[in-house]
Symmetry: C2
């Protein structure tokens, strides 16, 4: 091991950041707020000490570059922003592991690595203030919907473009940051899992196959209000009955196809104790790593909803809220991640990511990408109780550094072909 | 037929009342409002013309009396108050059929019928302004909960006692009206069905067996919020899944026991598209004419909820909102109602009442009681489209008059025993 590489320093820096920008309720680094700016300034002092060239791009993403013999670049990404009352690892573990790798690469190659190595701290991964996640990375990938983002407001009515201006970002110009990816040859991201899969398997680390595709819909069943006392059961057009049948059906659908499916909300009208439900609205969020399977999940849910509506003499309507295709990570990089995990003494394991990550945006832009997950102690994220054993954090930073090394070599070889 | 009895006059008077106190949205005779007072004043002119002795009791109920040879009294009840945007028949059909019967009895017995005959127009059957139905009749039966009623407010914050005072009623004294029932020997009430049972059977009239007992509960399932993308299906503690299983179960319970059961509202927390539901609240309203069956329905629902909670790793809690025992009407009076229905050429049929009626309060006070239902064209009530064929209205008033005659004779005979 290189004397300049020390994963315990990453843990110490994570604690330093927590003390600087968290409180008793958790991390408070919401993007485009003073606490976030404070975290960014702290990060810049760390980067300046490496030393690395740093600048902020047109979308507010912070880039730290170690120029190499080749312009082809290995990118390492993270996000120092958090949700309000967030966990101490979500996003910043990625960034600070990247800082440690830059230190190691800078020292090991005496200032001139064979390929360029860049750390990017994405702006507003969480979307906590404006309700739209992956702002900086989607601007960079070219997938940010400007007409939609232009109208976003925070809870105080401040528009996104106005908030960005306070942090030196000109909204209409954010797309210019796409040039940052021009020499990108690979992208790596380490992240706490945010789910219980590795915890249940007692594994410290995993290689991420990709991010789930998402089909998100509002489903409305419409029947007829009727008096709860005077309407015989066989005469009812009960919108709640039809909607409720969807709940176990969503589980049967994932039993058949894999993936996940969630009914997150249910509303009833008139919604009073003495009336049969006239209108029942539910939301359905379905996710799968395989586009065909996701499509079959959606098909099955639609078919079931029509059947339940027919059985109950009610109607059903679907409105898409949002969707995104599954984004698969790079097979060769995934193999390198497996190997890096094995080298730190852990069993390689592959799993999909339910939540989206900045890595998905980079992959959508055509850059070979992979993520590594580290176990989450409670299987919980976006919460102050989010945690990971320190031994697992050390293993994660070490394995991630090994992955970076393998990726640099791969970029050199690909370049040579 | 007596020349003084004319059911088409009842229909004409119903239309007169509609023109006086309704609008394009339906009946507007909400109790303790000017429209109701106007309807009451109109009714008093009709009663004065019979002539009948009239007075308002301490709870605002309007009594019209034809004193008889015996003080033992046949009571005929109705309510001229309506819900806002109500139907043109609900309640006032009862009252105006009673007016026609008083006319007939007065004429036929030359001012001295063998038993006393009284019409009561109950105050605030609907509870539309203060959310508490059966005000006048429960005051009279002795079942009005004064401590609860004292605190009731309308949507403008006006307290019930204050509103009553405007109509000459002293809240603290309403219980004194119980004396009105001291000589009551039987109570009859005609009402539009408010449900589709007679419509489905193509029957104009029915004899009401009694009013359903009601068990009304709020049921809360508590699980755990979790990310919709990162939480495997088998790890979820999905409060909505458990609650949703109750919907078909409520139908299975009525398949087994009869009666009706309704889940009228469903709420979810956090209630967002990207989270498994942590807390789901539903309301359950179960009704049955048989107290034992109602108790078994409730038992089965509780047992099922515990089973669904267990299956889903969530907890469940029950809170009673309200309950009332089934109230059975009088068998001999029911037989007279059947006979009266047959005498107008219709097939007798017996059915329970899902909604409560003033008759239930009178029956609770120990007075032999029966109701007669007339078919509702759309099976719908509390709505401007509420309607009944005029030929059915005529049959109803005629059959109800025959029932009154039989009841008077029965009272005489009972008195004699």
């Amino acid at each position: 091991m290189n004397a300049n590489f020390d994963p315990t320093r990453t843990i110490a820096e994570l604690k330093e950041l927590r003390a600087l920008t968290g409180d008793e309720n958790g991390a408070q680094r919401v993007a485009f707020t003073p606490a976030w700016a404070k975290a960014r300034a702290w990060l810049e002092t760390k980067l300046a000490a490496i030393p690395a060239e740093t600048h902020r791009d047109e979308a507010g993403n912070l880039w730290a570059t170690l120029p190499g013999e080749s312009e082809r670049a290995l990118l390492i990404g993270g996000h120092i922003d958090s949700v309000p009352n967030g966990g101490w690892l979500d996003g910043c573990l990625n960034t600070l592991a990247g800082v440690e790798i830059l230190r190691r690469v800078q020292a090991e190659h005496a200032g001139l690595p064979p390929v360029t190595v860049r750390l990017v701290d994405w702006a507003d991964e969480e979307g906590a203030r404006f309700g739209k996640s992956l702002f900086g990375s989607s601007a960079c990938s070219g997938h940010l919907d400007l007409s939609e983002a232009r109208t976003l407001k925070d809870k105080n009515g401040v528009a996104l473009p106005e908030a960005l201006r306070e942090y030196g970002i000109e909204f209409e110009n954010v797309g210019a940051c796409q040039k940052e990816l021009s020499n990108a040859a690979a992208y790596l991201e380490l992240h706490i899992e945010q789910g219980p899969v590795l915890l249940d398997l007692d594994l410290p680390l995993g290689t991420v196959l990709g991010t789930f595709g998402v089909e998100r819909h509002a489903i409305t069943f419409r029947g007829q209000a009727a008096h709860s006392g005077s309407t015989p059961m066989h005469r009812r057009k009960d919108a709640f009955l039809a909607a409720a049948k969807m709940a176990p059906e969503v589980y049967r659908i994932t039993d058949r196809h894999g993936g996940v499916g969630t009914i997150g909300s249910c509303t009833t009208k008139p919604g009073i104790v003495t009336s049969v439900v006239e209108e029942c609205g539910i939301t359905l969020d379905q996710r799968h790593l395989d586009a065909g399977a996701l499509s079959r999940m959606l098909h099955d849910a639609k078919e079931a909803s029509a059947r339940f509506a027919r059985e109950g003499g009610v109607t059903v309507g679907w409105d898409r809220i949002w969707n995104i295709e599954p984004i698969l990570f790079h097979q060769e990089l995934a193999a390198m991640s497996d190997a890096a995990i094995a080298e730190v003494g852990a069993s390689p394991y592959r799993l999909p990511s339910g939540p989206l990550h900045d890595a998905a945006e980079v992959a959508r832009a055509g850059i070979p990408t992979v993520m590594m997950f580290v176990q989450s102690l409670h299987g919980i994220s976006h919460n102050k109780i989010e945690d990971t054993k320190e031994e697992h954090l050390e293993m994660a930073v070490t394995a991630f550094d090994k992955l970076a090394d393998k990726a640099m070599e791969w970029i050199q070889n690909v370049n040579r072909d």
